[in-house]
Amino acid sequence: MKGSPLAQGVGHRAGRASLTRPLCGHPLPEGEGSDAASNRSFLVLPGPTPMLYAQILLNGLLLGGLYACIAVGFSLVWGVLNVINILHGSFVVLGSYIAYFAHVHWGLHPFLSIFLSGGVLFVVGYAVQRGVINRVIAAPVLTTLVLTFGLDLIVNNGMLLAFTADYRTVRLEHPLGSQIIGGLVVPLDRLAAMGLAVALTVLLFFTLARSKIGRAIVAVRMDAQAAALMGVDVPRIYAVTFGIGALMAGAAGSLLSLVFPISPLNGTEFLGIAFVVCVLGGLGSISGAIVGGFALGAIQSFGALWIGPEHGLTIAFALLLLLLVVKPTGIMGRKGYE
């Protein structure tokens, strides 16, 4: 890393004093340790280097693309079925496990196992919707929320029993590593994962916009009764939609297996991200999930830069609350899938 353009941009060892905090290098006065240490984050304002901001923005966008992919299936199910699918986080984790085992046993690269995990999860999602959720689909949203919450407990604890809580990682034989491009450090595997995540999301967009099944999904979202009168098999469309939501979760899980350690315990974190992204970007459109994902990634990264890594998510949630007051439909929010 030494001598990379980014580091040179703000000076080397000699110049460090200018970018570190005033307290650094001096022993702390007795008894002041905790306050001093926690306040230091506020003092860390490295010189105003455009390169630094560009790097942080890049980090945020790389993260944001993955966030969008986590959230898009959740958004679709919420938008079309009006079901808040608490299972979504566990679906993502399940996708990661499929990628993990496919990699360990068959040497399948996670970029390829998106088809496997997506396919398996589609079947799981379709069956869960057809067999269980469809029975209460007309009930108030709280009923389906509780139902998916219960299902999530079963799936999550099932994974704990089957896979244990030990953290696993997909370790590639030939990782792409990082490249310094124009002074920015670009982690290539992450970039590729993010690119695929966005590509999948765009593919979903065109599926909804162009394909027959996609138009049927949109029609059901707009008016289920009218769609039924036009000959659309509404329960089947519901199941297909839920299946697609799960498919996206599974595919996202495959991609995430390259980035995050895999454990059933991460399901909750992913669900939380999906929720925030949907509210931030606005329910009801694919573009909302993409915008929400990138927005969350960027906000979190700059939040961590400006007020310390401890508060990256705090900023994101504060903005979320503000947005709920000012524009409750989210950045891109509008009714229905189009």
Partner: protein, 404 residues
């Protein structure tokens, strides 16, 4: 949910208890010593909770197989009453209280980690139940003037001091350190100790940052850290955090001369999950399977303990597992020394203890925290945690650089 999970745990416990009773013949409730163990068996801390359970179980099974513990002319079988508190600290405290007040346990093993152990210690103190904390190192746990709390981990500074001394004496020109800590009781406490150790040895602490529990991205923090070009990066957290941090360090091309992570590298799961990225990470822990003591406890030598553990679990024990077994061994020695299971008598025996165990020398200080251990410093080399300190058990020399 609680009931379902408790049932999962209590069924095997009940089965084991039945097994014991039948094996021991005409045993009754009166000649069973019951030890309460609130543990995070599910939730984010479950990997750690399960380790403790393995350590306790090995001790309990070994003791019972050998006939039990004899005190005051009565031979007792040991039963450990596990309750899962789902990684939820407030529930750990309730659980501890329930174990003592309703289940009537004779002794308590603390819940996992410094935070929960401290919170639960007020309960056992109130009831006067001797309590052994197997995974609590922060001095803040023991500074409440409690009489019934004993801990098997030395203070955090006993990890950071030798590590810092080795690095600064190496002649490798390590002059600056960046500290990155999970905002949680133990990870933050040991990070603060590291800061003190570093400053005492003349290292420049170029940054000290904290991250929140559950952080999924360290990109910004590491980008900043990268700017200050530290010779030494010292990151604290648990396995999940540390793997993520390690991967992102690699993504961003951060290659310090020395990389320390605590706590995680001592666990085989970390080494397996980290792969090449785990190589050359230097760390310290309270125990290592390479230590060698000739104990007066049921396991005897450290080698015997390691063999017994491998027999049962087909893996090398790590410090958390060994410390849990040590908690059992220490309790047993205290009961035998007191020749009674009276809580006050056992407490006094613990306070006066001067014993050698497979785990190390055992002697508790004024506060109840162990003072007699010399924690090993180790480094992951070729996929194994190898000791570099103390000299008596040194397996290899510390390597500098080589962080991918």
């Amino acid at each position: 949910m609680t009931n379902a999970r408790t049932a999962w745990v209590s069924v095997p416990v009940a089965v084991m208890a039945l097994g014991l009773v039948s094996a021991a013949g005409p045993a009754s409730a009166e000649d069973t010593i019951r030890v309460g163990a609130p543990l995070p068996l599910t939730g984010p801390l479950s990997p750690e909770g399960l380790k403790q359970q393995r350590g306790y179980d090995l001790w309990k099974d070994t003791v019972n197989a050998a006939g039990g513990i004899t005190a005051g002319g009565v031979t007792y079988q040991v039963e450990i009453v596990y309750v899962d508190y789902e990684s939820n600290t407030p529930r750990a405290v309730q659980t501890a209280e329930r174990l003592i007040a309703e289940d009537g346990v004779n002794f308590l093993f603390s819940p996992f980690g410094s935070g929960a152990a401290k919170a639960a210690s007020s309960v056992s103190e109130r009831y006067g139940i001797p309590t052994i904390a197997a995974t609590a190192s922060s001095e803040a746990v023991y500074d409440q003037g409690y009489q019934f709390l004993f801990g098997t981990f030395t203070p955090n500074s006993t990890l950071t001091d030798p590590l810092t001394r080795i690095v600064t004496d190496s002649g490798e020109g390590v002059a600056s350190v960046a500290i990155y800590a999970r905002n949680d009781l133990f990870p933050l406490a040991i990070a603060r100790e590291m800061e003190k150790s570093a400053e005492a040895r003349g290292l420049e602490v170029v940054s000290f940052d904290e991250y929140a529990i559950g952080t999924l991205d360290h990109g910004s923090a590491l980008t900043l850290l990268r700017l200050s070009q530290p010779d030494w990066v010292f990151a604290t957290g648990y396995i999940n955090d540390l793997i993520l941090i390690r991967r992102q360090m690699s993504d961003l091309g951060i290659q310090p001369k020395v990389l320390t992570m605590i706590a995680g590298p001592a666990y085989r799961e970390f080494i397996e999950a980290g792969g090449d990225l785990a190589e050359n990470i230097a760390s310290a822990a309270w125990w290592h399977p390479a230590v060698s003591y000739d104990g007066q406890d049921i396991f005897g030598t450290t080698a015997n303990y390691v063999a017994a553990f491998q027999d049962k679990y087909d893996a090398l024990p790590d410090y958390a597992e060994a410390s849990a077994s040590a908690a059992g061994v220490i309790l047993q020695l205290a009961i035998e020394a007191a020749d009674s299971i009276d809580p006050q008598a056992v407490r006094d025996a613990l306070a006066a203890m001067q014993a050698t165990t497979f785990y190390g020398e055992v002697e508790f200080g004024e506060t109840g925290q162990i003072v007699s251990l010399e924690p090993p410093v180790f480094q992951i080399q070729d996929g194994e945690a190898k000791t570099v300190y103390p000299p008596a058990i040194q397996q290899t020399d510390m390597r500098y650089g080589g962080i991918k």
